[in-house]
């Protein structure tokens, strides 16, 4: 196969693999902080146990997160050297700052993991807060580079490819940095909240469960639902801003996301369906009249650019419409699930029926799917560019013909690791069930 395709496939799968663990790495420390703080306030030992158990899970996943992050960091230089040549001149700062954020996370994670019992409570809280800050800061900083690829700024490029007039801070604060960084952070928090909700709901569905266990899982579910509801709502509001940012700075991507071919005012929003090249429209979609114009500029008569403004070889693949819809669709469903569950709990004041618990069980995996499709949409939607309208992907990629062999090797690694991590998590938590921890506390 073509070397460029293989390089993209290798980097794409590496990122797709890493993002699972990285998302958890960003969100889980925040959940641990919430549990620690609740324990501090309410003095309820269940919250301390929650923090402890989540930390154990975090320690297992963190190993994969750090290792795969190292792969991604090294791989981007190996596979896209001409891209890194420009990055090194223009947008090196967030890359370097990210390492320090990562270092803060690593140092305090070790402290929190291996020295928690030797630390006073405040210093323990400081440690886990530092872990969360480090993790979130690294996510924000690395997203900055991604944002800059979508909306490059802070330099000029001569026709022969030479970079001049570098303004590192203009590059750092490129137009999409704020919204994109917020989007990544909020959606990571949201995803972990729903993953926790999934696990708690799964446990509550079991019939053989003691009263103490039930109480424990209910508390975990409540935290997850509140945080998840808040974060999914915030992600949606921020998603709206992201769409407006695309409208202004990256209209081609928006046009591809919505399957819009002709530039128009009063543009409709197509929900679902697939983009048909022959028919120049989205087939089998539900159309919301004026929806897209309103989304793009808060006015029904906003003019939205269509794909035909650009030559076809500069279009991203048309299936990005589906990726975009899956992401937005799941986001919407998650808001509904979490608010419905909270309504059930606080207004109806009833136990969750089993269909609602079953829905909650799938919420976590759904959220992770939204993360994956979101990243795929953002990266594939930028094609054929690596740096939007500056550097094409086929120019950026390596010319080495060893990429194919590495691709198969890494694929094997990722599939194996997914299984092994799942296995170790199951093994560990099966041998150390909540019941055991709760009983140990009674004695």
């Amino acid at each position: 196969m073509d070397i460029v395709v293989m390089a993209r496939a290798l980097f794409g799968t590496s990122l797709g693999f890493h993002i699972i663990y990285a998302t958890i790495g960003v969100g889980l420390p925040v959940m641990i902080i919430i549990a620690e703080v609740l324990h501090f306030i309410k003095k309820d030992p269940d919250y301390a146990l929650m923090a402890k158990r989540w930390t154990k899970g975090f320690a297992i996943l963190l190993a994969v997160s750090i290792a795969s992050g190292t792969i991604v960091g090294v791989m981007i230089s190996l596979l896209f050297p001409d891209f890194m040549e420009i990055v090194g001149q223009v947008i090196a700062l967030p890359f370097q700052m990210e390492i320090f954020a990562f270092l803060i996370e690593a140092v305090f994670m070790s402290i929190y993991l291996y020295a928690a019992d030797r630390l006073p409570p405040t210093l323990r809280l400081v440690s886990i807060i530092s872990v969360a800050l480090g993790a979130t800061a690294s996510a924000i900083l690395i997203t900055d580079v991604h944002a800059w690829m979508n909306t490059p700024a802070g330099f000029n490029i001569t026709p022969n490819g030479e970079i001049t007039d570098v303004d590192t801070w203009a590059a750092f604060f490129n137009p999409s940095f704020g919204v994109t960084a917020l989007h990544v952070t909020l959606s990571a928090y949201m995803t972990v909240a729903f993953l926790i909700a999934s696990i708690a709901a799964l446990r509550l569905m079991r019939s053989k469960i003691s009263k103490a266990e039930r109480a424990y899982h209910k508390k975990a579910l409540t935290i997850a639902l509140y945080f998840g509801a808040l974060m999914s709502l915030a992600t949606a509001v921020n998603g709206h801003e992201t769409a407006q940012m695309l409208h202004e700075y990256n209209p081609r991507k928006l046009a591809a996301a919505e399957g819009l071919f002709e530039t128009q005012r009063y543009a409709p929003l197509s929900v679902g369906g697939y983009t048909s090249l022959e028919d120049q429209r989205v087939k089998y979609a539900v159309e919301i009249p004026y929806g897209l114009s309103f989304l793009a500029g808060d006015r029904l008569d906003t003019e939205v650019m269509g794909l035909n403004e650009w030559p076809e070889e500069l279009w991203p693949p048309l299936y990005v419409h589906i990726l975009f819809n899956v992401m937005v669709g799941i986001g919407t469903v998650l808001i509904m699930i979490s608010f419905l569950a909270l309504f059930w709990k606080h207004v109806l004041k009833k136990e969750f029926p089993s269909w609602l618990l079953a829905t909650l069980v799938v919420s976590g995996p759904l959220a992770m799917l939204a993360i994956e499709t979101g990243w795929c949409f953002s990266c594939i939607g930028r094609q054929p560019w690596t740096i939007n309208e500056v550097l094409r992907t086929d120019e950026a990629a390596t010319k080495s013909n060893s990429v194919g062999f590495l691709f198969y090797l890494f694929m094997t690694l990722y599939i194996t690791l997914l299984f092994v991590t799942g296995f170790v998590m199951r093994y560990y938590f099966k041998r150390n069930p909540v019941r055991k921890d709760l009983e140990a506390r009674e004695v």
């Binding site: 320690a59 297992i60 963190l62 190993a63 994969v64 750090i66 290792a67 795969s68 992050g69 190292t70 960091g73 090294v74 791989m75 230089s77 190996l78 596979l79 050297p81 001409d82 890194m84 040549e85 420009i86 990055v87 090194g88 001149q89 090196a92 700062l93 890359f95 370097q96 700052m97 390492i99 990562f102 270092l103 803060i104 690593a106 140092v107 994670m109 070790s110 402290i111 993991l113 291996y114 020295a115 030797r118 530092s130 970079i163 570098v166 590192t168 390596t398 080495s400 060893s402 590495l406 090797l409 890494f410 690694l413 690791l417 092994v420 991590t421 296995f423 170790v424 093994y427 560990y428």
Partner: protein
């Protein structure tokens, strides 16, 4: 000082830090594996006690090094990436297996042995792969086909210098980790482990020096430039050797309690030995990143960006100093951690 010289000096400093931390990390993993099963168990415990909290930090230093190479010398990326794709790619692949299995062994008791053996052995191969980058930079192993650089695998894999470099890397890794863990065992007052690691330091020290000298004699013909430069820096290399001899001698000094070895002093001298040797080797390597294709001046980013990166480094490490201090207190000094059962 030229900005590019400053940049390469920082890079060599990071390389020094990583080569020490990496040696401790992979070495401790190896010793943990070797002594994991038999009666000399405390040596394994000491190694693991050091490894558990430190591997993440060590791993970050590897990333710092890679990112620094790319951001300080972006114009070298194309050449470096094309040539190093396979060795570095395999390196991170093995590193992933090693890291995950090392952590997993503490969470799945039943599979502990399998996980420990896998992580121990991969930990031995990774430094071998990483150190194989060194001979590639010396010249003679890179050719250009229609304008694109290619690594000559045939030449490299059949050249004795590759294998001497690998032996050099392994013996150094094991020596540095053994002598350090000896000191760490002393801090924990675990005399059984102390004797084990002292014993290994005693034979590994001279072996690593002998291999280092032999390695230079196997340099490829194209590398005569660096051999000349090394001879020019003979004072520094001599000083490094002197540090080794003093440090090695410290291992034999008898103390009041009848034990042999001034562990801390020996570790410091060996640290100095490698610091001097690495900087002297770095100086001899100038001005080339990869001979004869690219010099540091060719690869260097624009000075303005570089100075901003320097500020990031200064602020970053500044913020981290208290964190490192706390880290050191908790894991390298605190008796409660060192002496736990």
């Amino acid at each position: 000082m030229e900005a590019s010289t400053l940049a390469i000096t920082i890079l060599w400093s990071l390389l020094f830090v990583y080569s020490i931390l990496g040696s401790l990390d992979f070495g401790a993993g190896f010793w943990g594996m070797i002594y994991g099963k038999n009666e000399e168990k405390s040596a394994s415990q000491i190694a693991n006690r050091f490894l558990s909290p430190t591997w993440e930090v060590t791993n970050v230093f590897l990333v710092i090094f890679v990112v620094s190479v790319v951001t300080f010398f972006p114009f070298a990326t194309t050449l470096l990436s094309n040539v190093l794709l396979v060795p570095v790619g395999l390196g991170v692949l093995l590193l992933t297996i090693r890291t995950t299995f090392m952590v997993f062994q503490h969470h799945a008791d039943r599979y502990k042995d399998l996980l420990r053996l896998t992580s121990g052995f991969t930990g031995l191969i990774i430094p071998a792969l990483l150190v194989s980058i060194l001979p590639i930079t010396l010249g003679g192993f890179v050719s250009f086909e229609s304008g694109y650089p290619r690594l000559q695998y045939g030449e490299l894999l059949t050249h004795p210098t590759l294998y001497m470099h690998i032996l050099f890397g392994l013996s150094t890794e094991l020596f540095i980790s053994a002598i350090f863990l000896m000191d760490y065992a002393k801090e924990a007052e675990d005399w059984n482990a102390y004797d084990t690691f002292r014993k290994h330091s005693l034979w590994l020290g001279p072996v690593s020096i002998a291999i280092a000298m032999l390695t230079i004699s196997t340099f490829p013909e194209e590398a005569s430039w660096i051999v000349d430069n090394i001879q020019e820096h003979w004072v520094a290399f001599g000083l490094s050797l002197l540090c080794f001899i003093i440090g090695y001698a410290f291992l034999f000094i008898k103390k009041k309690d009848g034990r042999r070895g001034l562990a801390r002093a020996a570790v410091i001298m060996v640290g100095l030995q490698y610091a001097i040797a690495i900087y002297a080797y770095g100086a001899a390597h100038l001005p080339y990143l990869i001979y004869p294709d690219i010099t540091i001046e060719d690869g260097f980013t624009n000075p303005d960006t570089f100075y901003q990166m320097l500020i990031v480094y200064a602020v970053g490490f500044g913020i981290l100093i208290p964190a490192f201090y706390l880290f050191w207190r908790l894991f390298l000094k605190d008796r409660r951690y060192l002496k736990q059962e």
